[in-house]
């Protein structure tokens, strides 16, 4: 049980790594952005994992739920906000990418820098 | 239009399952809002009127369910067969019913039935991809086509 629990944290760490790596090492701007969302998704996972209570249920009082143990609502609230922030960043980033493509004709970082150097 | 409004209302009531005055009020508001928007997006042109909830439709559904079950087993047998005995082919089916809505019903029924897949609809002719020759023959016999056409016959 304990191992399985730790597994969540590790997956978080590895996801973080994969996303972060894509952000730093990739040259394609869209790929960077996708990496960034992976990176953020990892953090979402961390928070939600933290909020889970064993044997608990979603923190919504309902007749079906009765008097059961509830999971922690706070991380969920935080992540709701964070998801929204994430999509906003993505949208803005995509907007910038579209403009870059129009101005430069490419979305590869290296090629853009070459064009600028000329 | 009234049908839409009624079905929206019914959908809300059944879905919500909470009958507090406030929520009922909000529900009414939502239905109205949806209705207004539906009008704005030209929801009510003639292509769509064809929602006939009749006994015949129900009967068709049951028949279709049977078809789905039968052909599902057929396809499953093929999938589980070590050699994958398939003989795919494409045939054209001309829809007997003329109304676009019925063509859509037919097209979707074809897709819904495993083993046949409608890939393109053009002026009442449905291009169908069939997994096996038997499936293609079945469809070409026009049983489903006739039944769909019958739904609307008054």
């Amino acid at each position: 049980m304990n191992f399985l629990g730790i597994y969540y944290y590790w997956v978080f760490a590895i996801l973080l790594m994969v996303g972060f790596y894509a952000v730093i090492a990739k040259l394609n701007l869209i790929k960077k952005l996708i990496g960034l969302s992976l990176f953020q998704a990892a953090v979402f996972l961390l928070y939600i994992t933290v909020g889970k209570v064993e044997g608990g249920t979603a923190p919504i009082f309902a007749s079906a739920a009765g008097e059961r143990l509830f999971s922690n609502p706070l991380p969920q609230v935080l992540i709701l906000t964070a998801i929204v922030v994430g999509i906003s960043t993505t949208a803005l980033g995509l907007g910038i990418i579209v403009r870059i493509k129009e101005e430069y004709g490419t979305i590869e970082e290296q090629e853009i820098q070459e064009i600028d150097r000329q | 239009m009234i049908i839409l409004l009624l079905s929206l209302g019914a959908a809300w009531l059944l879905w919500s399952g909470l009958y507090k005055p406030l929520l009922l009020f909000l529900g009414g508001l939502s239905c109205l809002l949806t209705f207004l928007l539906a009008r704005r997006i030209d929801y009510f042109d003639d292509e769509l009127y064809g929602l006939h909830f009749s006994l015949r439709l129900l009967r068709y559904w049951f028949w279709l369910g049977g078809q789905i079950f039968r052909s599902s087993i057929d396809v499953s047998r093929i999938v589980l067969h070590p050699k994958l005995p398939i003989s795919p082919r494409v045939i054209d089916v001309k829809a007997e019913a003329g109304h676009p809505f019925d063509v859509v019903t037919l097209g979707n029924s074809i897709t819904l039935t495993p083993g046949t897949l409608s890939i393109d609809v053009h002026e009442g002719v449905i291009k169908v991809h069939a997994l096996t020759e038997a499936g293609a023959r079945d469809l070409a016999s026009g049983d489903m086509n006739r039944r769909v056409a019958e739904i609307r016959k008054d």
């Binding site: 049980m1 894509a22 979603a58 129009e102 | -």
Partner: protein, 326 residues
């Protein structure tokens, strides 16, 4: 048993994530991130976060896929050079970060341990106070709307900023408007089946969106998810019938108004709190009975969130679409 499911899903997620990074076809990457989102959302659901799961599905699998696709339609679909020359440095930085994170896991409390400090301090208070002071079933909505309403205000303004930003960037006056008209008209009109089925469903999707909006207090849902769903239904219409017709139904001017009015509504409720003698965002003073006031406040601010989100998402979509191709 649940945790086994979770582990299974997590493993799938890992595989997907690695595949996303490895593939060079951007379209494939976008598709895979759609899958990733769905898996992530299922995981959230397993971890009892119904609201978050709904949001992740609406945002990750829905809206962001659409946005990525529309950006992709405007740019290349293939990466050229896969990695920068600083690949090794990157790897080193990343490994270091990961090791740090893994190091941190050693002293962490077991996942789901009810005695962990996270569940001790503030959380029980929220559960209790939601029952007493606000009296709505969904604790997440209560925390979101009232206890931490200020965060949510910030969230709305983040969305608002993104909307402004995309409009500012892409709405350059006189950019390719003539071309849009002809290209945008065709859309999926040719495809009979999707068009008819889609159109038949639009009102119901819309209604469902509004349902999610107004049942945020009772079940999973709320302004943001509702906004995303409503926007999705209009986007569906735009996909089926063309940009121009969608814009005719909901003109830009109206969308701009929506964006601003939602944000204003939220802020206005907060200011009303001050005017009526409470603190900013204090809903208790909105009605004679504090509990009723709280409920009223939450409904109002959720409406504000929903309106803004709908407006912003649609504006962003149109801004991308108006660039001519998608």
């Amino acid at each position: 048993m649940t945790i086994v499911f979770g582990v299974f899903l997590l493993t799938l997620m890992l595989v997907t994530a690695i595949a996303i990074v490895r593939t060079q076809n951007l379209f494939v990457a976008v598709m895979l991130s759609g899958i990733f989102s769905l898996l992530l959302a299922s995981n959230f659901f397993l971890l009892d976060a119904a609201d978050v799961a709904l949001t992740e599905a609406a945002v990750g699998a829905g809206i962001s896929t659409v946005l990525y696709l529309s950006a992709l339609a405007l740019s290349a679909q293939h990466e050229h050079a896969p990695y920068s020359s600083h690949r090794l440095i990157a790897l080193a930085v990343v490994s270091f970060t990961t090791l740090a994170v893994i190091y941190a896991t050693f002293d962490q409390p077991r996942v789901g341990d009810p005695a962990a400090p996270v569940h001790q301090h503030v959380a029980p208070w929220y559960l209790e106070m939601t029952r007493d002071a606000i009296d709505i079933p969904n604790v997440v909505t209560a925390v979101l709307g009232s206890f931490r309403g200020y965060d949510t205000l910030g969230e709305v303004f983040v969305v608002f900023t993104a909307g402004i930003g995309v409009l500012f960037l892409l709405d350059k006056p006189g950019a390719r408007h003539s071309q849009t008209q002809t290209v945008g008209q065709v859309r999926l009109r040719h495809y009979l089946i999707p068009r008819l089925v889609g159109r038949m469903l639009i009102p119901f999707i819309l209604l469902f969106g509004l349902y999610v909006q107004f049942h945020g207090e009772y079940g999973p849902g709320g302004g943001f998810q509702a906004g995303a769903l409503v926007a999705a239904s209009i986007i569906l219409y735009a996909l089926l019938e063309g940009e121009t017709r969608a814009l005719r139904a909901l003109p830009r001017r109206l969308l701009t108004l929506l964006i601003a009015s939602g944000a204003l509504l939220y802020c206005g409720v907060g200011v009303a709190g001050i005017l009526l003698g409470g603190n900013f965002l204090d809903y208790s003073v909105l009605a004679d009975d504090p509990v009723k006031g709280q409920q009223l406040g939450i409904i109002l601010i959720e409406a504000g969130v929903g309106i803004t989100v709908t407006g912003v998402l649609l504006s962003i979509f149109h801004a991308f679409a108006a660039r001519g191709r998608f």
